[in-house]
């Protein structure tokens, strides 16, 4: 017994000693999930981000000499555990948590007010609260690259392209099968607005969490006989949907998934039923990009990679994590350029860094990430910064890119974002910032 207590004391002592160590470090919490039905997404994305940090530490010695540190915390994709992890991690490292990637729409919602009060930016890359793209109302929240609404307009554009023009959408029937959660419901208003604009018919069908039973929903699809199905699934719901579609004989080449439905983990369990299935993506899979080659050379060869199953390196979730790593570190670099090179920055400075982040084609080439992600330009007005989507199709073995970057329809999305953000501001009594006065 005594020995156990002694071991425990040592353990606790070293934990505290560990946090007080070297000052020239930039701490980024890794609050993801490694258990439960969504573990493939959490471990893949988390692994990618950590791998990229490790790569910078190993290859470049950090960012201008500032080493990146991180600590994992298990959120189980649950809001209360996510909040606990956030509170636990926010004061670690010499300058506290730099930025949080909640990787859950629910946790993002729970953190909006807390993080804004604590001055810690939240990056919800491709998920979270869409209207946070209006940076005047949400100074600390960054739904970077593309929001759900933007990608949804790109999806309809893609369907229009396939049909031979947006005017051909008139009279077409589209079914939106969604995960019955805040995440799943986000796109309903946009789809309704687009249905009105282009004259197609849209039916929304909910699938209750976790979505491993979808027979009745797909029977309904068979009755409606839609031209296209939009799949807004997450986790185990995706392969189940594909299998159910095969059972009722709905062609998979007419199913378009959101990016949380378009990873290897979503299609491989469905086997042959997934062949021909199309999904949107804001990052591309593969290990051919120079940055991925560097990663293999500097990190995985040395046995310092985060993914135990090395066959997952270069999978969709993994490269999405790499993109998160690139955005995070580039924002830190931007902030360092202004607030002092080679010094750790605070959350408040990081907010400036993200808001003034520009990653153009030239920079992407320097990073070795051309084609892995799209160029990005964030501003005070626009916390999204990109908005374009590529479409990928599963051939039974791998994802093939079938389109170029398809831009979203901001003329439709932006007014809705601003209206929704204004309603939030009114409810909460927030006075929107004046972007012309930001510097």
């Amino acid at each position: 017994m005594k020995r156990i207590i002694a071991a425990g004391t040592v353990a606790l002592a070293t934990t505290f000693a560990g946090t007080a160590a070297a000052q020239n470090e930039q701490f980024v919490p890794a609050n993801f999930y490694w258990v439960g039905p969504y573990a493939p997404g959490g471990s893949g994305f988390g692994g990618g981000m950590i791998d990229y940090f490790q790569l910078l530490n190993e290859r470049d010695g950090g960012i201008n000499g500032v080493k990146l540190t991180w600590e994992k915390c298990e959120t189980e994709y649950r809001n209360d555990r996510g909040v606990e992890c956030y509170e636990r991690s926010k004061n670690k490292g010499p300058t506290g948590a730099t930025v949080i990637h909640p990787l859950s729409t629910g946790i993002t919602y729970s953190l909006i007010e807390k993080a804004t009060a604590d001055k810690i930016p939240v990056i919800s890359m491709g998920y979270g609260r869409t209207d946070a793209a209006d940076g005047r109302v949400f100074p600390y929240i960054f739904p970077l690259i593309t929001t759900y609404w933007s990608q949804n307009t790109a999806k309809i554009k893609f369907i229009g392209m396939k049909e031979g023009g947006m005017d051909k959408l008139k009279g077409k029937k589209i079914v939106n099968i969604y995960h019955d959660s805040a995440y799943g419901k986000e796109t309903i208003p946009v789809l309704d607005a687009q249905a009105k604009k282009y004259g197609f018919q849209v039916t929304h069908i909910a699938v209750p969490h976790p979505g491993n039973e979808q027979q009745s929903q797909w029977l309904q699809v068979r009755q409606i006989r839609p031209d296209w199905v939009i799949l807004r699934g997450w986790g185990v719901m995706n392969p189940t949907a594909l299998k159910a579609a095969a059972k009722v004989g709905f062609p998979r080449t007419k199913i378009v998934g959101v990016w949380w439905s378009g990873a290897e983990e979503d299609v491989i369990p469905a086997g042959d039923a997934a062949k021909g299935y199309i999904a949107a993506g804001f990052n591309l899979p593969g290990t051919s990009f120079p940055v991925m080659q560097d990663l293999l050379k500097h990190v995985y060869k040395k046995g310092k990679g985060d993914l135990e199953d090395t066959s997952r390196v270069g999978s969709i979730y993994h490269t999405r994590g790499i993109v998160a790593g690139i955005i995070t570190t580039e924002a830190i670099r931007t902030a360092q350029n202004r607030f002092g090179k080679g010094k750790p920055i605070t959350g408040e400075q990081m907010r400036w860094g993200i808001e003034n982040l520009t990653i153009d084609e030239k920079r992407l080439k320097q990073l070795g990430a051309t084609g892995l992600m799209q160029p990005l330009k964030v501003s005070c007005m626009d916390h999204e910064g990109g908005g374009a989507v590529k479409f990928i199709q599963w051939d039974g073995k791998k994802w093939n890119v079938i389109t170029d970057w398809i831009a979203s329809d901001q003329s439709l999305v932006r007014p809705m974002v601003e209206a929704s953000a204004a309603q939030y501001a009114k409810e909460k009594g927030i006075t929107p910032r004046d972007c012309s006065k930001e510097k």
Binding site: A11, G106, S110, I112, E113, I188, E427, K428
Partner: protein, 358 residues
């Protein structure tokens, strides 16, 4: 030796009826209150206050609500999370639509709404018992969430069905910091726990227990079945409703209906099973175990791998955490099927005999 009532005489009825008949208990209780109300907010940092203690208190209150229904009145329910959801969403609506009302009256009204829902879904309890009743309350769990997700008015037509709790202002005083929110939660929980303790010692509480122990006998001696059972559902749901309102307002801030799934109902049921069915104290002990223990395991595992200098894969740690937790639940239930509250009682009895056990 220290814990003994020898020499303490009760000379009035009021003393005889006190919640804590032994002076040492009273002293311990007031010390605990002093620590909780003064020392903790002064010493606790933000992490402890907002991420550990506030949720612990809120879930203890919800467990207490379920304990009134299941532990005292003997009616098994799986709708706890739904009652919490009613409380959370109605409190939001009362504050939104009737801002002149104030936050505390809104919480009470939200609790009453939950009580009304509880009474409606308690009706089957008049005809069915045990596991069959549990299945009937499942309907409540799904129906309530379905209504919240489908009926736009409840979420003020939020596009994603998510609500953001308003700022808590009571008589012009805003509760914004974690310490303030903790104190508000603590005050409400203490008042309601004491009320529950007294209620269970009153005629109503005794009627509940009579129904639990044998409902035929209870009705023979003149306890009205309908009134007693529905009252148990109402009071229990009221407690859960207030817990839900606190969950939204003092803890998460922004809530989605998915936070109140069946999973949460089961977790609260586990709290009272582990803590002690039919015990106020047990609700707190059970909530502490279910809420705090996984977090402790998580931190401890991190410390261990840090100390030993070996990188234990995080996925292994996360899964191990669930396994150890499950194993401990089974262990405790084998060693003490009546929960932590019973262990606490045994400890107290032993302490009274110490150091001369006979």
């Amino acid at each position: 030796m220290l814990y003994r009532e020898a020499g303490q005489f009760k000379s009035t009825y009021a003393q005889d009826l006190g919640i804590f008949p032994i002076r040492q208990d009273r002293v311990a209780f007031w010390l605990l209150m002093l620590v909780a109300f003064v020392a903790v907010p002064l010493l606790g940092d933000q992490y402890w206050l907002s991420a550990i203690l506030t949720p612990f208190l809120i879930f203890a209150l919800a467990a207490l609500g379920l304990n009134i229904l299941t532990g005292y009145a003997g009616q098994l329910s799986l709708g706890t999370a739904a009652f919490m959801a009613v409380g959370a969403f109605m409190a939001y609506n009362f504050v939104l639509r009737m801002p002149w009302l104030g936050v505390i009256p809104s919480f009470i009204l939200a609790g009453l709404c939950a009580a009304a829902v509880g009474v409606v879904f308690g009706l089957p309890s008049l005809r069915i018992k045990g596991f069959y009743l549990a299945v009937a309350t499942l309907a409540c769990q799904f129906f309530v969430l379905w209504v919240i997700q489908r009926w736009g008015w409840i979420t003020n037509y939020s596009q994603s069905g998510v609500i953001t709790a308003q700022e808590i202002v009571i008589f012009g005083y805003a509760f914004t910091t974690p310490a303030q929110k903790y104190l508000l939660t603590l005050a409400i929980v203490v008042v309601m726990a004491l009320a529950a303790k007294n209620l269970m010692r009153s005629e109503t509480g005794r009627a509940f227990m009579a129904v639990r122990d044998m409902d035929v006998a209870a009705s023979v001696i003149g306890i009205p079945m309908m009134k007693t059972k529905l009252l148990a559902f109402a009071i229990s749901s009221f407690y859960c409703g207030v817990a839900g309102a606190l969950h939204a307002f003092t803890y998460l801030g922004t809530v989605e209906p998915e936070a109140y799934t069946l999973d949460l109902s089961f977790r609260i049921l586990f709290m009272i099973i582990i803590g002690g069915v039919g015990s106020i104290m047990g609700s707190f002990l059970g909530a502490a175990f279910i809420i705090l223990f996984p977090i402790f395991l998580n931190i401890f595992a991190g410390g261990i791998s840090h100390a030993l200098g070996v990188e234990i894969s995080h996925a292994v740690v996360s899964n191990l955490e669930l396994m150890i937790f499950g194993g401990l639940i089974i262990f405790f239930l084998i060693v003490e099927p009546h929960g932590f509250a019973r262990l606490w009682q045994i400890a107290k009895e032993k302490l009274r005999l110490w150091p001369f056990p006979h």
